[in-house]
Protein backbone atom coordinates (compact mmCIF):
# COMPACT_ATOMS: atom_id res chain seq x y z
CA UNK A 1 0.00 0.00 0.00
CA UNK A 2 1.18 3.43 -0.86
CA UNK A 3 -0.84 4.96 1.89
CA UNK A 4 -3.12 7.90 1.60
CA UNK A 5 -1.27 11.11 0.74
CA UNK A 6 -1.43 13.82 3.35
CA UNK A 7 -4.26 16.32 2.95
CA UNK A 8 -1.73 19.09 2.46
CA UNK A 9 -0.28 17.51 -0.64
CA UNK A 10 -3.74 16.78 -2.04
CA UNK A 11 -4.60 20.43 -1.66
CA UNK A 12 -1.37 21.36 -3.40
CA UNK A 13 -2.01 18.98 -6.30
CA UNK A 14 -5.52 20.29 -6.64
CA UNK A 15 -4.23 23.86 -6.77
CA UNK A 16 -1.60 22.91 -9.34
CA UNK A 17 -4.05 21.08 -11.62
CA UNK A 18 -6.70 23.80 -11.51
CA UNK A 19 -4.09 26.54 -11.67
CA UNK A 20 -2.69 25.08 -14.89
CA UNK A 21 -6.20 24.88 -16.34
CA UNK A 22 -6.90 28.49 -15.37
CA UNK A 23 -3.69 29.61 -17.08
CA UNK A 24 -4.77 27.81 -20.24
CA UNK A 25 -8.17 29.49 -20.05
CA UNK A 26 -6.51 32.90 -19.69
CA UNK A 27 -4.47 32.21 -22.83
CA UNK A 28 -7.63 31.19 -24.68
CA UNK A 29 -9.84 34.03 -23.52
CA UNK A 30 -7.64 37.10 -23.33
CA UNK A 31 -7.54 37.65 -27.12
CA UNK A 32 -11.34 37.55 -27.04
CA UNK A 33 -11.47 39.99 -24.13
CA UNK A 34 -9.08 42.22 -26.07
CA UNK A 35 -11.42 42.04 -29.07
CA UNK A 36 -14.31 43.05 -26.83
CA UNK A 37 -12.59 46.08 -25.33
CA UNK A 38 -10.90 47.07 -28.59
CA UNK A 39 -14.24 47.09 -30.37
CA UNK A 40 -15.45 49.83 -28.04
CA UNK A 41 -12.64 52.24 -28.95
CA UNK A 42 -12.30 54.88 -31.59
CA UNK A 43 -9.28 54.85 -33.89
CA UNK A 44 -7.30 57.10 -31.55
CA UNK A 45 -7.98 55.00 -28.48
CA UNK A 46 -7.19 51.82 -30.38
CA UNK A 47 -3.83 53.04 -31.60
CA UNK A 48 -2.91 54.61 -28.27
CA UNK A 49 -2.44 51.21 -26.67
CA UNK A 50 -3.74 50.48 -23.18
CA UNK A 51 -5.83 47.80 -24.74
CA UNK A 52 -7.81 46.50 -21.81
CA UNK A 53 -9.12 49.89 -20.68
CA UNK A 54 -12.22 51.60 -21.96
CA UNK A 55 -10.28 54.69 -22.98
CA UNK A 56 -11.78 56.46 -25.97
CA UNK A 57 -15.02 54.56 -25.49
CA UNK A 58 -17.06 54.86 -28.65
CA UNK A 59 -18.89 51.59 -29.22
CA UNK A 60 -22.00 53.38 -30.43
CA UNK A 61 -19.97 55.40 -32.93
CA UNK A 62 -18.23 52.26 -34.18
CA UNK A 63 -21.51 50.46 -34.70
CA UNK A 64 -22.99 53.45 -36.53
CA UNK A 65 -19.97 53.73 -38.81
CA UNK A 66 -20.10 49.98 -39.38
CA UNK A 67 -23.74 50.21 -40.42
CA UNK A 68 -23.24 53.29 -42.59
CA UNK A 69 -19.94 52.67 -44.33
CA UNK A 70 -20.38 52.05 -48.04
CA UNK A 71 -24.18 51.87 -47.76
CA UNK A 72 -24.09 49.29 -45.01
CA UNK A 73 -22.09 46.74 -46.94
CA UNK A 74 -21.01 45.12 -43.68
CA UNK A 75 -24.51 43.88 -42.91
CA UNK A 76 -24.82 42.79 -46.50
CA UNK A 77 -21.79 40.57 -45.86
CA UNK A 78 -23.40 39.43 -42.65
CA UNK A 79 -26.52 38.36 -44.53
CA UNK A 80 -24.35 36.60 -47.10
CA UNK A 81 -22.51 34.69 -44.39
CA UNK A 82 -25.82 33.67 -42.84
CA UNK A 83 -27.01 32.53 -46.26
CA UNK A 84 -23.85 30.60 -47.15
CA UNK A 85 -23.48 29.01 -43.73
CA UNK A 86 -27.17 28.53 -42.92
CA UNK A 87 -28.42 27.25 -46.24
CA UNK A 88 -25.17 25.47 -47.10
CA UNK A 89 -24.96 23.66 -43.77
CA UNK A 90 -28.65 22.74 -43.82
CA UNK A 91 -28.44 21.19 -47.28
CA UNK A 92 -25.10 19.59 -46.47
CA UNK A 93 -26.53 17.98 -43.33
CA UNK A 94 -29.45 16.54 -45.30
CA UNK A 95 -27.15 15.13 -47.94
CA UNK A 96 -24.76 13.72 -45.32
CA UNK A 97 -27.41 12.21 -43.07
CA UNK A 98 -29.20 10.63 -46.04
CA UNK A 99 -25.95 9.01 -47.14
CA UNK A 100 -24.93 8.02 -43.59
CA UNK A 101 -28.38 6.51 -43.04
CA UNK A 102 -28.14 4.49 -46.25
CA UNK A 103 -24.71 3.22 -45.20
CA UNK A 104 -26.07 2.19 -41.82
CA UNK A 105 -29.39 0.66 -42.83
CA UNK A 106 -28.85 -1.00 -46.20
CA UNK A 107 -26.59 -3.76 -47.38
CA UNK A 108 -25.41 -3.70 -50.94
CA UNK A 109 -22.49 -4.88 -52.95
CA UNK A 110 -19.31 -2.84 -52.58
CA UNK A 111 -20.72 -0.94 -49.61
CA UNK A 112 -17.56 -0.87 -47.54
CA UNK A 113 -15.49 0.02 -50.62
CA UNK A 114 -17.79 2.95 -51.27
CA UNK A 115 -17.54 3.99 -47.63
CA UNK A 116 -13.77 3.73 -47.93
CA UNK A 117 -14.00 6.29 -50.72
CA UNK A 118 -15.86 8.62 -48.35
CA UNK A 119 -13.12 8.18 -45.75
CA UNK A 120 -10.51 8.95 -48.42
CA UNK A 121 -12.44 12.12 -49.15
CA UNK A 122 -11.95 13.17 -45.53
CA UNK A 123 -8.20 13.22 -46.16
CA UNK A 124 -8.27 15.40 -49.27
CA UNK A 125 -6.67 18.81 -48.66
CA UNK A 126 -9.59 20.88 -49.91
CA UNK A 127 -7.65 24.08 -50.52
CA UNK A 128 -5.68 22.24 -53.19
CA UNK A 129 -9.00 21.87 -55.02
CA UNK A 130 -10.01 25.52 -54.85
CA UNK A 131 -8.00 26.57 -57.88
CA UNK A 132 -9.20 23.82 -60.29
CA UNK A 133 -12.69 24.43 -58.94
CA UNK A 134 -12.35 28.11 -59.77
CA UNK A 135 -11.30 27.32 -63.32
CA UNK A 136 -14.13 24.79 -63.71
CA UNK A 137 -16.59 27.32 -62.30
CA UNK A 138 -15.42 29.93 -64.77
CA UNK A 139 -15.93 27.48 -67.66
CA UNK A 140 -19.48 26.87 -66.49
CA UNK A 141 -19.94 30.58 -65.90
CA UNK A 142 -20.79 30.47 -62.19
CA UNK A 143 -17.64 32.17 -60.94
CA UNK A 144 -18.49 35.22 -58.86
CA UNK A 145 -22.02 34.02 -58.06
CA UNK A 146 -23.60 32.65 -54.88
CA UNK A 147 -23.42 29.16 -56.39
CA UNK A 148 -19.63 29.23 -56.56
CA UNK A 149 -19.49 29.28 -52.76
CA UNK A 150 -22.67 27.35 -51.98
CA UNK A 151 -22.17 24.21 -54.05
CA UNK A 152 -18.72 23.20 -52.78
CA UNK A 153 -19.82 23.48 -49.13
CA UNK A 154 -22.58 20.93 -49.68
CA UNK A 155 -20.00 18.16 -49.55
CA UNK A 156 -18.52 17.04 -46.27
CA UNK A 157 -17.27 13.44 -46.24
CA UNK A 158 -16.64 13.65 -42.51
CA UNK A 159 -20.32 14.55 -42.08
CA UNK A 160 -21.25 11.28 -43.80
CA UNK A 161 -18.92 9.37 -41.51
CA UNK A 162 -20.40 11.07 -38.43
CA UNK A 163 -23.93 10.47 -39.68
CA UNK A 164 -23.29 6.78 -40.07
CA UNK A 165 -21.92 6.58 -36.54
CA UNK A 166 -24.90 8.54 -35.20
CA UNK A 167 -27.42 6.40 -37.09
CA UNK A 168 -25.84 3.31 -35.57
CA UNK A 169 -26.21 4.90 -32.15
CA UNK A 170 -29.65 6.47 -32.39
CA UNK A 171 -31.76 4.28 -34.67
CA UNK A 172 -32.71 0.81 -33.40
CA UNK A 173 -33.49 -1.66 -36.18
CA UNK A 174 -36.77 -2.57 -34.49
CA UNK A 175 -38.14 0.94 -35.00
CA UNK A 176 -37.53 0.72 -38.75
CA UNK A 177 -38.92 -2.81 -38.90
CA UNK A 178 -42.08 -1.74 -37.08
CA UNK A 179 -42.65 1.08 -39.55
CA UNK A 180 -42.17 -1.30 -42.48
CA UNK A 181 -44.71 -3.73 -41.03
CA UNK A 182 -47.12 -0.82 -40.82
CA UNK A 183 -46.69 -0.57 -44.56
CA UNK A 184 -44.46 2.50 -44.83
CA UNK A 185 -42.22 2.68 -47.90
CA UNK A 186 -38.44 2.86 -47.47
CA UNK A 187 -38.15 6.61 -48.09
CA UNK A 188 -41.09 7.22 -45.81
CA UNK A 189 -39.30 5.21 -43.09
CA UNK A 190 -36.19 7.35 -43.55
CA UNK A 191 -38.12 10.60 -43.51
CA UNK A 192 -40.47 10.04 -40.59
CA UNK A 193 -38.59 7.54 -38.40
CA UNK A 194 -34.86 7.56 -39.23
CA UNK A 195 -34.37 11.28 -39.70
CA UNK A 196 -36.43 12.07 -36.62
CA UNK A 197 -34.49 9.67 -34.40
CA UNK A 198 -31.08 10.84 -35.60
CA UNK A 199 -32.01 14.53 -35.17
CA UNK A 200 -29.40 15.18 -32.43
CA UNK A 201 -26.77 13.86 -34.86
CA UNK A 202 -28.22 16.04 -37.60
CA UNK A 203 -27.82 19.10 -35.38
CA UNK A 204 -24.21 18.13 -34.69
CA UNK A 205 -23.36 17.79 -38.37
CA UNK A 206 -25.14 21.08 -39.03
CA UNK A 207 -23.24 22.87 -36.28
CA UNK A 208 -19.84 21.75 -37.51
CA UNK A 209 -20.62 22.51 -41.13
CA UNK A 210 -22.10 25.90 -40.22
CA UNK A 211 -18.87 26.73 -38.40
CA UNK A 212 -16.74 25.52 -41.27
CA UNK A 213 -18.64 27.61 -43.82
CA UNK A 214 -18.84 30.68 -41.58
CA UNK A 215 -15.08 30.47 -41.16
CA UNK A 216 -14.43 29.65 -44.80
CA UNK A 217 -12.01 32.09 -46.37
CA UNK A 218 -9.96 30.47 -49.12
CA UNK A 219 -12.86 29.40 -51.30
CA UNK A 220 -14.64 32.80 -51.38
CA UNK A 221 -11.28 34.51 -51.83
CA UNK A 222 -10.69 32.50 -54.97
CA UNK A 223 -14.27 32.53 -56.28
CA UNK A 224 -15.64 35.99 -55.61
CA UNK A 225 -14.66 39.41 -56.90
CA UNK A 226 -17.95 41.28 -56.43
CA UNK A 227 -17.96 42.84 -52.94
CA UNK A 228 -21.74 42.42 -52.79
CA UNK A 229 -21.28 38.63 -52.68
CA UNK A 230 -18.57 38.56 -50.02
CA UNK A 231 -19.04 36.69 -46.78
CA UNK A 232 -17.83 38.37 -43.59
CA UNK A 233 -14.43 36.70 -43.61
CA UNK A 234 -13.56 38.06 -47.03
CA UNK A 235 -15.05 41.50 -46.36
CA UNK A 236 -13.08 41.92 -43.15
CA UNK A 237 -9.96 40.80 -44.97
CA UNK A 238 -10.52 43.45 -47.63
CA UNK A 239 -11.02 46.15 -44.97
CA UNK A 240 -7.95 45.01 -43.11
CA UNK A 241 -5.90 45.38 -46.28
CA UNK A 242 -7.08 49.00 -46.47
CA UNK A 243 -6.37 49.69 -42.83
CA UNK A 244 -2.61 49.84 -43.30
CA UNK A 245 -3.06 52.90 -45.48
CA UNK A 246 -6.10 54.36 -43.71
CA UNK A 247 -6.14 53.78 -39.95
CA UNK A 248 -9.83 54.76 -39.86
CA UNK A 249 -10.53 51.21 -40.99
CA UNK A 250 -9.08 49.71 -37.80
CA UNK A 251 -12.17 50.27 -35.63
CA UNK A 252 -14.35 48.98 -38.46
CA UNK A 253 -12.28 45.79 -38.74
CA UNK A 254 -12.21 45.21 -34.99
CA UNK A 255 -15.88 45.95 -34.33
CA UNK A 256 -16.84 43.98 -37.43
CA UNK A 257 -14.77 41.03 -36.21
CA UNK A 258 -16.46 41.10 -32.83
CA UNK A 259 -19.94 40.98 -34.35
CA UNK A 260 -18.81 38.21 -36.71
CA UNK A 261 -17.74 36.03 -33.79
CA UNK A 262 -20.97 36.43 -31.80
CA UNK A 263 -23.26 33.91 -33.58
CA UNK A 264 -20.78 31.06 -33.27
CA UNK A 265 -20.00 31.79 -29.64
CA UNK A 266 -23.73 31.79 -28.89
CA UNK A 267 -24.18 28.56 -30.85
CA UNK A 268 -21.32 26.79 -29.10
CA UNK A 269 -22.41 27.92 -25.65
CA UNK A 270 -26.02 26.85 -26.18
CA UNK A 271 -25.34 23.62 -28.10
CA UNK A 272 -22.58 22.15 -25.92
CA UNK A 273 -24.10 18.68 -25.96
CA UNK A 274 -23.93 18.60 -29.74
CA UNK A 275 -20.35 19.61 -30.39
CA UNK A 276 -19.17 17.35 -27.61
CA UNK A 277 -21.13 14.50 -29.19
CA UNK A 278 -19.51 15.23 -32.55
CA UNK A 279 -15.99 15.26 -31.18
CA UNK A 280 -16.69 12.14 -29.12
CA UNK A 281 -18.02 10.24 -32.12
CA UNK A 282 -14.98 11.33 -34.08
CA UNK A 283 -12.54 10.22 -31.41
CA UNK A 284 -13.77 7.05 -29.78
CA UNK A 285 -14.82 5.04 -32.82
Amino acid sequence: MNGRPRTGSVWLSKAAVNGALVLAVVYMLFPLVWLLTAATKDAGGLLAGNAFSFEGFDLGGNLTRLAEYNDGIYFHWYANSLLYAGLGALACSFVSVAAGYAFHVYDFRGKEKLFGLVLLGVLVPTTALALPMYLLASEVGVVNTYWAVLVPVLVNPFGVYLSRVFCAGYIPDEALEAARIDGAGELRVFWSIGLRMVMPGFVTVFLFQFTAVWNNFFLPLVMLSDQKLYPLSLGLYAWNSNAHAEPDFYPLVVTGSLLAVVPLVVAFVSLQRHWKAGLTAGSVK
Binding site: K14, E186, N240
Partner: protein, 299 residues
Protein backbone atom coordinates in the same frame (compact mmCIF):
# COMPACT_ATOMS: atom_id res chain seq x y z
CA UNK B 1 -35.29 -6.17 -51.58
CA UNK B 2 -35.67 -4.14 -54.75
CA UNK B 3 -37.33 -1.35 -52.79
CA UNK B 4 -34.35 -1.23 -50.48
CA UNK B 5 -31.83 -1.02 -53.30
CA UNK B 6 -33.88 1.77 -54.82
CA UNK B 7 -34.02 3.65 -51.50
CA UNK B 8 -30.29 3.22 -50.94
CA UNK B 9 -29.61 4.59 -54.41
CA UNK B 10 -31.86 7.59 -53.89
CA UNK B 11 -30.32 8.42 -50.52
CA UNK B 12 -26.72 8.02 -51.67
CA UNK B 13 -27.00 9.73 -55.04
CA UNK B 14 -27.02 13.39 -53.89
CA UNK B 15 -23.86 12.93 -51.87
CA UNK B 16 -21.90 11.02 -54.48
CA UNK B 17 -23.06 13.30 -57.26
CA UNK B 18 -21.79 16.34 -55.35
CA UNK B 19 -18.71 14.43 -54.24
CA UNK B 20 -17.89 13.81 -57.90
CA UNK B 21 -18.48 17.41 -58.94
CA UNK B 22 -16.65 19.02 -56.03
CA UNK B 23 -13.82 16.57 -55.36
CA UNK B 24 -13.22 13.95 -58.03
CA UNK B 25 -13.57 16.20 -61.09
CA UNK B 26 -11.40 19.04 -59.67
CA UNK B 27 -8.66 16.54 -58.77
CA UNK B 28 -8.72 15.18 -62.31
CA UNK B 29 -8.86 18.69 -63.75
CA UNK B 30 -5.91 19.82 -61.64
CA UNK B 31 -3.82 16.93 -62.97
CA UNK B 32 -4.93 17.74 -66.54
CA UNK B 33 -4.19 21.46 -66.15
CA UNK B 34 -0.78 20.78 -64.72
CA UNK B 35 0.26 19.19 -68.02
CA UNK B 36 -0.39 22.33 -70.08
CA UNK B 37 1.20 25.75 -70.31
CA UNK B 38 -0.14 28.96 -71.81
CA UNK B 39 2.32 30.35 -74.30
CA UNK B 40 2.41 33.60 -76.20
CA UNK B 41 1.88 32.81 -79.83
CA UNK B 42 3.84 34.60 -82.55
CA UNK B 43 5.21 37.94 -81.51
CA UNK B 44 2.79 38.27 -78.69
CA UNK B 45 0.11 39.87 -80.83
CA UNK B 46 -1.90 36.74 -81.38
CA UNK B 47 -2.84 36.22 -77.74
CA UNK B 48 -2.01 32.99 -75.99
CA UNK B 49 -2.35 29.35 -76.86
CA UNK B 50 -2.38 26.38 -74.55
CA UNK B 51 0.34 23.85 -75.26
CA UNK B 52 0.85 20.40 -73.85
CA UNK B 53 4.12 20.52 -71.94
CA UNK B 54 4.12 17.22 -70.09
CA UNK B 55 5.83 17.44 -66.74
CA UNK B 56 7.41 20.86 -67.40
CA UNK B 57 5.21 22.56 -64.84
CA UNK B 58 6.32 20.07 -62.23
CA UNK B 59 9.99 20.59 -62.96
CA UNK B 60 9.37 24.34 -62.98
CA UNK B 61 7.69 24.21 -59.56
CA UNK B 62 10.27 21.89 -58.06
CA UNK B 63 13.05 23.93 -59.67
CA UNK B 64 11.74 27.12 -58.09
CA UNK B 65 13.55 27.92 -54.90
CA UNK B 66 10.52 29.71 -53.44
CA UNK B 67 8.40 26.58 -53.81
CA UNK B 68 11.00 24.33 -52.22
CA UNK B 69 11.47 26.78 -49.40
CA UNK B 70 7.72 26.65 -48.85
CA UNK B 71 8.02 22.96 -48.08
CA UNK B 72 10.92 23.76 -45.78
CA UNK B 73 8.69 26.21 -43.92
CA UNK B 74 5.95 23.57 -43.67
CA UNK B 75 8.43 21.06 -42.30
CA UNK B 76 9.61 23.51 -39.66
CA UNK B 77 6.03 24.44 -38.91
CA UNK B 78 4.97 20.80 -38.46
CA UNK B 79 7.98 19.98 -36.30
CA UNK B 80 7.21 22.88 -33.98
CA UNK B 81 3.42 22.88 -34.10
CA UNK B 82 2.39 19.23 -34.00
CA UNK B 83 4.35 18.15 -30.90
CA UNK B 84 3.21 21.29 -29.07
CA UNK B 85 -0.39 20.74 -30.10
CA UNK B 86 -0.47 17.04 -29.21
CA UNK B 87 1.36 17.46 -25.92
CA UNK B 88 -0.63 20.55 -24.96
CA UNK B 89 -4.04 19.14 -25.85
CA UNK B 90 -3.35 15.76 -24.28
CA UNK B 91 -1.81 17.38 -21.20
CA UNK B 92 -4.85 19.61 -20.68
CA UNK B 93 -7.18 16.67 -21.26
CA UNK B 94 -5.32 14.60 -18.66
CA UNK B 95 -5.52 17.48 -16.18
CA UNK B 96 -9.23 17.83 -16.81
CA UNK B 97 -9.71 14.07 -16.53
CA UNK B 98 -7.82 13.83 -13.25
CA UNK B 99 -9.89 13.49 -10.12
CA UNK B 100 -8.59 16.86 -8.93
CA UNK B 101 -10.09 19.09 -11.61
CA UNK B 102 -13.05 21.32 -10.77
CA UNK B 103 -15.60 23.03 -13.00
CA UNK B 104 -14.97 20.64 -15.88
CA UNK B 105 -17.81 21.92 -18.05
CA UNK B 106 -16.61 25.49 -17.76
CA UNK B 107 -13.00 24.59 -18.59
CA UNK B 108 -14.06 22.53 -21.56
CA UNK B 109 -16.20 25.34 -22.96
CA UNK B 110 -13.68 28.10 -22.29
CA UNK B 111 -10.82 26.16 -23.85
CA UNK B 112 -12.95 25.22 -26.86
CA UNK B 113 -14.24 28.74 -27.54
CA UNK B 114 -11.40 29.94 -29.84
CA UNK B 115 -12.59 27.31 -32.30
CA UNK B 116 -15.68 29.49 -32.80
CA UNK B 117 -13.45 32.29 -34.11
CA UNK B 118 -12.88 32.26 -37.87
CA UNK B 119 -9.22 31.69 -38.76
CA UNK B 120 -9.03 35.03 -40.49
CA UNK B 121 -10.29 36.87 -37.39
CA UNK B 122 -8.00 34.87 -35.10
CA UNK B 123 -5.10 35.96 -37.30
CA UNK B 124 -6.28 39.59 -37.27
CA UNK B 125 -6.54 39.63 -33.48
CA UNK B 126 -3.11 38.11 -33.01
CA UNK B 127 -1.50 40.45 -35.53
CA UNK B 128 -2.79 43.32 -33.41
CA UNK B 129 -1.44 41.58 -30.33
CA UNK B 130 1.94 41.17 -32.05
CA UNK B 131 2.18 44.84 -33.05
CA UNK B 132 4.45 46.58 -30.53
CA UNK B 133 2.58 49.92 -30.47
CA UNK B 134 -0.82 48.28 -29.97
CA UNK B 135 -0.11 45.19 -27.98
CA UNK B 136 -0.45 44.73 -24.25
CA UNK B 137 1.41 41.44 -24.70
CA UNK B 138 4.51 42.92 -26.28
CA UNK B 139 4.44 45.76 -23.75
CA UNK B 140 4.14 43.31 -20.86
CA UNK B 141 6.95 41.19 -22.29
CA UNK B 142 9.16 44.23 -22.66
CA UNK B 143 8.41 45.26 -19.11
CA UNK B 144 9.47 41.76 -18.09
CA UNK B 145 12.72 42.17 -20.00
CA UNK B 146 11.79 39.89 -22.90
CA UNK B 147 12.14 41.61 -26.22
CA UNK B 148 10.64 39.56 -29.03
CA UNK B 149 9.84 40.78 -32.52
CA UNK B 150 6.99 38.66 -33.84
CA UNK B 151 7.50 40.06 -37.34
CA UNK B 152 11.21 39.29 -37.60
CA UNK B 153 12.53 36.33 -39.64
CA UNK B 154 13.03 34.29 -36.46
CA UNK B 155 9.61 35.37 -35.22
CA UNK B 156 7.67 34.29 -38.31
CA UNK B 157 7.31 30.63 -37.48
CA UNK B 158 6.48 31.03 -33.76
CA UNK B 159 3.96 33.76 -34.64
CA UNK B 160 2.03 31.48 -36.98
CA UNK B 161 2.35 28.45 -34.70
CA UNK B 162 0.92 30.43 -31.80
CA UNK B 163 -2.16 31.44 -33.80
CA UNK B 164 -2.73 27.85 -34.89
CA UNK B 165 -2.28 26.56 -31.34
CA UNK B 166 -4.76 29.09 -30.07
CA UNK B 167 -7.31 27.94 -32.63
CA UNK B 168 -6.87 24.19 -32.29
CA UNK B 169 -5.63 23.36 -28.79
CA UNK B 170 -9.04 23.36 -27.12
CA UNK B 171 -10.74 21.57 -30.00
CA UNK B 172 -8.31 18.67 -29.82
CA UNK B 173 -8.32 18.74 -26.05
CA UNK B 174 -12.06 17.97 -26.15
CA UNK B 175 -11.38 15.02 -28.47
CA UNK B 176 -8.76 13.61 -26.11
CA UNK B 177 -10.93 14.29 -23.08
CA UNK B 178 -13.82 12.38 -24.69
CA UNK B 179 -11.49 9.46 -25.37
CA UNK B 180 -10.18 9.54 -21.79
CA UNK B 181 -13.71 9.62 -20.42
CA UNK B 182 -14.53 6.53 -22.47
CA UNK B 183 -11.85 4.49 -20.68
CA UNK B 184 -13.37 1.75 -18.58
CA UNK B 185 -13.18 3.04 -15.01
CA UNK B 186 -12.53 -0.45 -13.64
CA UNK B 187 -9.17 -0.46 -15.47
CA UNK B 188 -8.19 2.70 -13.61
CA UNK B 189 -9.42 1.33 -10.30
CA UNK B 190 -7.40 -1.83 -10.82
CA UNK B 191 -4.29 0.30 -11.44
CA UNK B 192 -4.98 2.28 -8.26
CA UNK B 193 -5.39 -0.90 -6.26
CA UNK B 194 -2.07 -2.08 -7.67
CA UNK B 195 -0.56 1.02 -6.10
CA UNK B 196 -0.04 3.22 -9.18
CA UNK B 197 -0.03 6.94 -8.48
CA UNK B 198 -1.79 9.61 -10.53
CA UNK B 199 1.24 10.27 -12.79
CA UNK B 200 1.83 6.60 -13.35
CA UNK B 201 -1.83 6.01 -14.24
CA UNK B 202 -1.87 8.98 -16.59
CA UNK B 203 1.19 7.95 -18.57
CA UNK B 204 1.21 4.16 -18.34
CA UNK B 205 -2.52 3.46 -18.45
CA UNK B 206 -4.47 6.37 -19.89
CA UNK B 207 -2.16 7.58 -22.65
CA UNK B 208 -1.67 4.13 -24.24
CA UNK B 209 -5.44 3.67 -24.21
CA UNK B 210 -6.08 6.84 -26.25
CA UNK B 211 -3.39 6.14 -28.85
CA UNK B 212 -6.01 5.79 -31.60
CA UNK B 213 -7.25 9.32 -30.92
CA UNK B 214 -3.69 10.62 -30.88
CA UNK B 215 -3.06 9.06 -34.28
CA UNK B 216 -6.29 10.49 -35.67
CA UNK B 217 -5.59 13.99 -34.41
CA UNK B 218 -2.03 13.78 -35.74
CA UNK B 219 -3.36 12.74 -39.15
CA UNK B 220 -5.90 15.56 -39.40
CA UNK B 221 -3.40 18.07 -38.08
CA UNK B 222 -0.85 17.13 -40.71
CA UNK B 223 -3.43 17.47 -43.48
CA UNK B 224 -4.55 20.81 -42.07
CA UNK B 225 -0.98 22.04 -41.67
CA UNK B 226 -0.10 21.29 -45.28
CA UNK B 227 -2.85 23.70 -46.33
CA UNK B 228 -1.48 26.55 -44.23
CA UNK B 229 -2.61 29.78 -45.89
CA UNK B 230 -4.88 32.20 -44.03
CA UNK B 231 -2.77 33.01 -40.98
CA UNK B 232 0.50 33.68 -42.85
CA UNK B 233 -1.43 35.65 -45.48
CA UNK B 234 -2.59 38.08 -42.80
CA UNK B 235 0.94 38.31 -41.44
CA UNK B 236 2.20 38.94 -44.96
CA UNK B 237 -0.14 41.87 -45.64
CA UNK B 238 1.25 45.13 -44.49
CA UNK B 239 2.75 44.14 -41.17
CA UNK B 240 6.33 44.23 -42.37
CA UNK B 241 6.58 40.63 -41.25
CA UNK B 242 9.23 38.34 -42.70
CA UNK B 243 6.42 36.15 -44.02
CA UNK B 244 6.57 36.37 -47.82
CA UNK B 245 3.73 35.98 -50.32
CA UNK B 246 5.00 32.52 -51.27
CA UNK B 247 5.81 31.45 -47.73
CA UNK B 248 3.84 28.19 -47.89
CA UNK B 249 3.16 25.96 -50.93
CA UNK B 250 -0.50 26.94 -50.83
CA UNK B 251 0.42 30.62 -50.93
CA UNK B 252 2.80 29.82 -53.77
CA UNK B 253 -0.01 28.17 -55.75
CA UNK B 254 -2.30 31.12 -55.04
CA UNK B 255 0.18 33.73 -56.22
CA UNK B 256 1.10 31.59 -59.24
CA UNK B 257 -2.57 31.49 -60.25
CA UNK B 258 -3.78 34.97 -59.40
CA UNK B 259 -0.71 37.20 -59.48
CA UNK B 260 1.12 35.53 -62.34
CA UNK B 261 -1.88 33.94 -64.12
CA UNK B 262 0.15 30.77 -64.55
CA UNK B 263 -2.58 28.18 -63.99
CA UNK B 264 -0.45 25.25 -65.13
CA UNK B 265 2.22 26.01 -62.55
CA UNK B 266 -0.40 26.61 -59.85
CA UNK B 267 -2.08 23.30 -60.68
CA UNK B 268 1.24 21.46 -60.54
CA UNK B 269 1.97 23.02 -57.15
CA UNK B 270 -1.50 22.00 -55.90
CA UNK B 271 -1.07 18.45 -57.16
CA UNK B 272 2.32 18.15 -55.49
CA UNK B 273 0.80 19.39 -52.24
CA UNK B 274 -2.08 16.91 -52.48
CA UNK B 275 0.38 14.11 -53.23
CA UNK B 276 2.38 15.02 -50.15
CA UNK B 277 -0.81 14.88 -48.10
CA UNK B 278 -1.68 11.48 -49.55
CA UNK B 279 1.80 10.09 -48.83
CA UNK B 280 1.82 11.39 -45.26
CA UNK B 281 -1.73 10.10 -44.62
CA UNK B 282 -0.67 6.72 -45.89
CA UNK B 283 2.44 6.74 -43.71
CA UNK B 284 0.55 7.77 -40.58
CA UNK B 285 -2.23 5.20 -41.01
CA UNK B 286 0.36 2.52 -41.78
CA UNK B 287 2.37 3.41 -38.69
CA UNK B 288 -0.64 3.31 -36.43
CA UNK B 289 -1.85 -0.04 -37.72
CA UNK B 290 -5.08 -1.16 -39.26
CA UNK B 291 -6.92 -2.06 -36.10
CA UNK B 292 -9.33 0.82 -36.59
CA UNK B 293 -10.83 -0.54 -39.80
CA UNK B 294 -11.66 -3.82 -38.12
CA UNK B 295 -13.31 -2.06 -35.23
CA UNK B 296 -15.54 0.01 -37.48
CA UNK B 297 -16.93 -3.03 -39.20
CA UNK B 298 -18.08 -4.58 -35.96
CA UNK B 299 -19.55 -1.32 -34.68
Amino acid sequence: MKARTRAATILLTPFFLLFTVVMVVPIGYAVWLSLFTEKQSGLGFGGTETVFTGLDNYTAALGDRAFREGFGVLLGYCLLYIPLLLAGALGLALLLDSALARARRFFQLALFLPHAVPGIIAALIWVYLYTPQLSPVVQAMEAGGIGFDFFSPEGALPSVVNIALWEWLGYNMVIFYAALQAIDRSVLEAATVDGAGAWRIAFSVKVPLVKASLAMVALFTIIGSLQLFTEPLILNKGTGSAVTSTWTPNMYAYTAAFDRNDYGLAAAASVLLALTAALLSFAVTRMTGRRKAGKERTA
